[in-house]
Subunit: 390 residues, 3 copies
C-alpha cells in the first residue's frame, strides 16, 4: 500500500484563527511521587538505533581504550561478529530512554544497583526500554520521597541486553497538574531472571599490539590502587551529549530551568551523571579494561557531588578481587572500585585524602569523618578479563 | 583505467620562489545585488551524502521525538524501507548547499516561503541543489536590496526532494571586486510544479509505546495553544553545526568577521537560523509531531531576533487547523503556528505577552503594538498525522 | 566456540578490602628521552575503524570543500569505489594513534616532514600504526632533547596508507618512574620505500557543478598568493575532537594538567596542532583543492604559535610550482605554501606583514627580522589536480 497526494501552495492562516488563551495546555513529563505505584510498568518512547559510527563516536568521546569498541578488525578477531557497543553507551542510552517517563521530574539520582549486561549490542540493533516501579518510600508530605525502579533494555528481537535498578528522589505533585500519561505497554515487562550470557569468543586470545602488555588478568592483585594519569575537562558539550543519548531532563541543558531552581542545583546546567561515569570509565580504561571482553556489571554507584561545564574530572581504581570464572579457561573476573574526583589530579587527590578516598561517602558520618568535596563518584564494577596465555 | 606514480622525497622550495605581493588575489563568494539577475540559475557545489548515522545524529542533536528519525525498526514497521532523514535536516542541508553562491554576501535572511518536501531522503542518498533568482528589488543606490530566490534539492536520481523560496537582503557590490563565478549548470533547473508525494505507508497504524498516547490526529483542536515544557541552551557548538550542514557564511563561525561588522550583527557569531528552527521544532516534537508521518511544508517563516551562544530557546505551538486529507483514511492534516522565544521559559513568555505572542511581528506596527524582543521566530507548518485508529 | 555464564547478584565488597596506600601505582605513558633508542620499533595500541559517517563528519567539521570527501556519488563518478577519507583525517588519526607511546611526554611538536599518502582509505577500513625511532639528539643533561621518529599507518591488509617523519622535544626522565612498556611488536616495521601510488581514476574528468569553475590545474600560476576569505573561531570543541582522533596528550583536554605547567604552555589546554592544520587546509580548500584527486604529501610543517579555544584562525596559500606528472595526462602537480594566522583576517595579515608572512619563521633571525606573532603555522604541500579538459 502507499499513500499519495499533491502538495498545494500553503496560504497563511494564523491571522484568521482567534487567539484564545483559555485553550493553553502545558504538557509535563516525568512522574511525581503521587503518580508512581509499585508494580506499574512503563514502556518508554522513541527507542534508539545503534550504528557502527555512533558506537565508535561514543567510545572515542568518552576516551575508551579497549579496542573492542574502536576497531572492527580486532572485535572480529576476538570472535564477535562485528564491533561492540561499549557497555557505557548501552547503559547511558537505556537509562536515558526512560528519563521522559521515569525521572524528568526527579530531584536527584540517588544510586545505580545491579546493573547487568546480558547480550552484546551490534551495529544496526535498535533498543527500547521498559521500567517497573519496585518501591515507593514516602518520607512525609513535606519531603520528597524515594522510589526504586527497575529498567530493562531490549533489542529488536525482544531479547534483554541490560537490566538495572535505580533509586531516585521525587517530589509530591501537590496542586500541580498531572503529568502526561505514559504510553500503554504492548508486552509484559521483560525480565531475564537467570541472566545467562553467551559470548561468541574464540578462546584464542590473540596477542597483538592493540592492547597494552600489562592489563591482562594476571596483572591485577587485590588491593592494587591504580592512579590514572590523565583528566578530562568537561565543556558545554555535555548539553548536546545528554540529548545525544536521549536524556530529556532539562536540568542538563536548559539554563532558564536551572537558574530558576533553588538550592545547590541552581545555576548552570548540571552534567548528566551517566556522562560523568562514562568519562571516568574511559580515563581508567587503558590501565584496567583494555583486555576486558565483557563488563559483567556495576553496583553501588553514587554521584556524590554534581559537576558542571568547566570542571576537570579524574579517576582512580582499586582492585577488590580477582577470581576464576568456573568452567572458563581463558578469562578471569576482576572486581574494581572506581572513584572519580574533580578539579584536582587523581594523584594529588590520593596524596591529600589517602585511604578516605576509597571509603564510601555515605559511610563517612558513621566513621566520624567529613565527606570529600573533591570526590564526585564511586562504584563497584566487575569485568571479564583475558588471561595472558591460554 | 588507473593512474599510478611514485612518490619522491619532497624538497623544500618556498625560499626559492620570489614573493610578489602584486600576485595576490582575494576570492570572494556569494553574490552582491548587482550580480543577481532574475532568471539566473545556479548549480551549487559539493553536495551532501546522507548516512543513517548523520541522520540519527542530527535528529538527536535537535531533540526530535518522532521515532521515524530515531528508530530504524519503527520506520520499517510504518512502511518506509529505512530510517528517514528528518525534514529539518533536509531543509538545513539544502539551504546550506546554496549559501556559498546565494547568500554568503547576504546581510539578512528575511523569510522562508512555500517550503515543500516532495520525497523521502534515506541513508545513502546524496543531495545537490540548484537556485533560480526569481526577483530583485532595488531600494535605491544607498540601500541594500531584496532578492527572492527559489532553491530545489535533488537526490542522486535527479528527483526533487525539497523546494522552497527565500527572501534575502543583499548589498550593492559598488567598488568591490566581483565574486567568484558560479559553476556552470549541467542541467535545466529542476522543478516539480505538481509536487506529487508518494509515501510507502502500510496504513496499518501500529500501536506501540514508541510514540506518546496523546499526539494522534484526534488530539488536536483548532485554537489549542501548547506550551512546550523544556528549553535548550545553545552553546558554541552552533559554529561547528553550521559547517556540519554545509553553511559557509562567516557570520556564523568567524569572530574576526563578526567583530568587524557594525550594527546589531556586530560582535559574537550569530546562530544560523536553520539551527534555531530545528531546535524549536525539536522542543515541540513530543507534544505535536511524534505521530507525524510527513512534514507537508512550512511557510511565512521569520527570524525576528538573532540568537547567540549562551541563549536558551523555548517553543510554543498553536493549532490553526485540522483537516481530512481527501482519499486518505488513516491520516489527517494538522496546521500549526510555531513560535520561538529566548531567555525566558515558554510558559513565562505566554504569561507576560499573552495573545500578542502569536501575532506576527511584522503586523505589530499596524496594530499599534511593540515588537516582542523575547520572541525569536515564527512560522506556519503543516503535518500529516496518524489517526489513533484506522 | 563460545563462552557462557550466569550473572549473579553483585554484592558490595569494597568495605571488606583493606585500603593499603603502599599498593598504589601510577602508570605513565609516552617516553622520556632516556627511554628512546634509535632503531626501536613500537606497535601502537587501539587502531581506528573508518566509516562513511566519521569520514564525512571529519571533512565537514574541518570545512573541506572537495566533494571527494563529502559526496559519495561524485567520488564514484571520478573512479573511486566509495567515498575517500580526507588526507587530513588519515594524517590526524595516524599521528594520534602514536601519541600514547611516542609523544604523551613530549614538551613540543617541532615539525612534520615527508608526509606521504600512499593508498586511499575507504569506509570500513581499519588503520593501525607503527613508529621507529630514527634519531635522538641530546642537548645536555639540563635540557630537553630532540628525537626524530618515523610513523607508518597501515590498513587491515597490512598495506601502508601513510608514512611521515616528525621531530619532537622530550625531557629526561631523571628520578621519575619509567613509563609503561610498549606493546611487543608482532611484525617487522612496515615500510614503503618505493611509495608507489595507484589510483582507480577513470581519467574522464567530469564537468559538474560540484567543484568550482576556477580551481583546475590551469588556474594556478607560480607566485600566486591566494587570500582565503573566511576564518574559523575554534571553540572548546577542540578537546573532544582531540580524543575523537585518538590523541591522548593531556595538554589538549586536561585543564588541571595544563594549569600546573610553567611557561607558555601553562593555562588553558592548547589546541592539538593536527586540528589547526586541518582547519587551515579546509579554509583554503574551496580556493585551491576542490579538484585535487590526491594529496601527494606535506613537508616542512611548523606550528609557530599555539592556539587556544576562542582563537579565530585564517589561511593564505602561495603557489610554489605547477608541473606535469610524467605519463599522466589529465592531472598536474601543484605545490603550495600554506600559512595560518590567528585573530586577524588573512587579508589584514597580508596587509600588515606583506612578504614576511611567507618567509619561514626559523629563517627570520638570520634575515634580521622579528617573528610574526599573528602567524601560527606554515607548511609546503603537493596536490595532484585535475586539468580542465582532457
Amino acid at each position: 500500500m502507499s499513500v499519495s497526494f499533491t502538495l498545494t501552495s500553503q496560504t497563511e492562516i494564523s491571522c484568521d484563527i482567534p487567539i484564545d488563551l483559555a485553550k493553553a495546555r502545558h504538557p509535563q513529563y516525568g512522574r511525581y511521587l503521587d503518580e508512581l505505584e509499585p508494580g506499574q510498568v512503563f514502556e518508554h518512547p522513541r527507542g534508539f538505533t545503534f550504528t557502527a559510527t555512533n558506537m565508535l563516536g561514543f567510545a572515542r568521546t568518552f576516551m575508551q581504550a579497549n579496542p573492542l569498541y574502536l576497531n572492527r578488525q580486532y572485535a572480529c578477531d576476538i570472535g564477535f561478529p562485528d564491533l561492540l557497543a561499549s557497555p557505557q553507551m548501552v547503559f547511558n542510552v537505556t537509562l536515558s530512554l526512560g528519563v521522559q517517563n521515569d525521572s524528568e521530574k526527579a530531584i536527584a539520582n540517588l544510586g545505580y544497583y545491579q546493573v547487568q549486561f546480558t547480550r552484546p549490542v551490534y551495529p544496526g540493533d535498535t533498543l527500547r526500554a521498559f521500567t517497573k516501579v519496585l518501591e515507593r518510600k514516602d518520607r512525609g508530605p513535606d519531603k520528597p520521597g524515594i522510589t526504586l525502579i527497575r529498567t530493562v533494555g531490549i533489542n529488536q528481537d525482544d531479547a534483554v541486553v541490560l537490566q538495572y535498578d535505580r533509586k531516585i528522589m521525587v517530589g509530591w505533585r501537590g496542586e500541580r497538574s498531572p503529568t502526561t500519561p505514559a504510553p500503554k505497554t504492548t508486552m509484559a515487562f521483560p525480565s531475564d531472571d537467570i541472566a545467562l550470557v553467551e559470548l561468541p569468543l574464540t578462546g584464542n586470545n590473540i596477542v597483538t599490539g592493540l592492547g597494552g602488555p600489562n592489563t591482562y588478568f594476571e596483572d591485577f592483585t587485590p588491593g592494587d590502587i591504580i592512579v590514572h594519569a590523565n583528566g578530562r575537562t568537561i565543556t558545554e558539550e555535555h548539553m548536546a551529549l545528554t540529548y545525544g543519548v536521549g536524556n530529556s531532563h532539562p536540568l542538563h541543558f536548559d539554563r532558564v530551568f536551572s537558574s530558576a531552581l533553588s538550592g545547590k542545583m541552581s545555576g548552570e546546567p548540571i552534567v548528566y551523571g551517566g556522562l560523568i561515569f562514562a568519562w571516568l570509565d574511559g580515563l581508567a580504561s587503558r590501565d584496567v579494561s583494555e583486555h576486558a571482553v565483557w563488563e559483567l556489571g556495576f553496583s553501588e554507584g553514587y554521584h556524590t557531588q554534581p559537576a558542571f561545564a568547566g570542571d576537570t574530572v579524574g579517576a582512580l581504581s582499586r582492585v577488590l578481587a580477582v577470581e576464576d570464572m568456573p568452567g572458563i579457561d581463558g578469562y578471569g573476573v576482576v572486581t574494581l572500585q572506581l572513584v572519580g574526583v574533580k578539579n584536582i589530579s587523581a594523584a594529588e587527590a590520593l596524596e591529600q585524602h589517602g585511604a578516605d578516598l576509597f571509603l564510601k561517602e555515605d559511610a563517612k558520618r558513621a566513621a566520624g569523618k567529613d565527606k570529600i568535596t573533591d570526590k564526585i563518584f564511586e562504584i563497584e564494577r566487575r569485568l571479564l578479563v583475558m588471561r595472558r596465555s591460554c
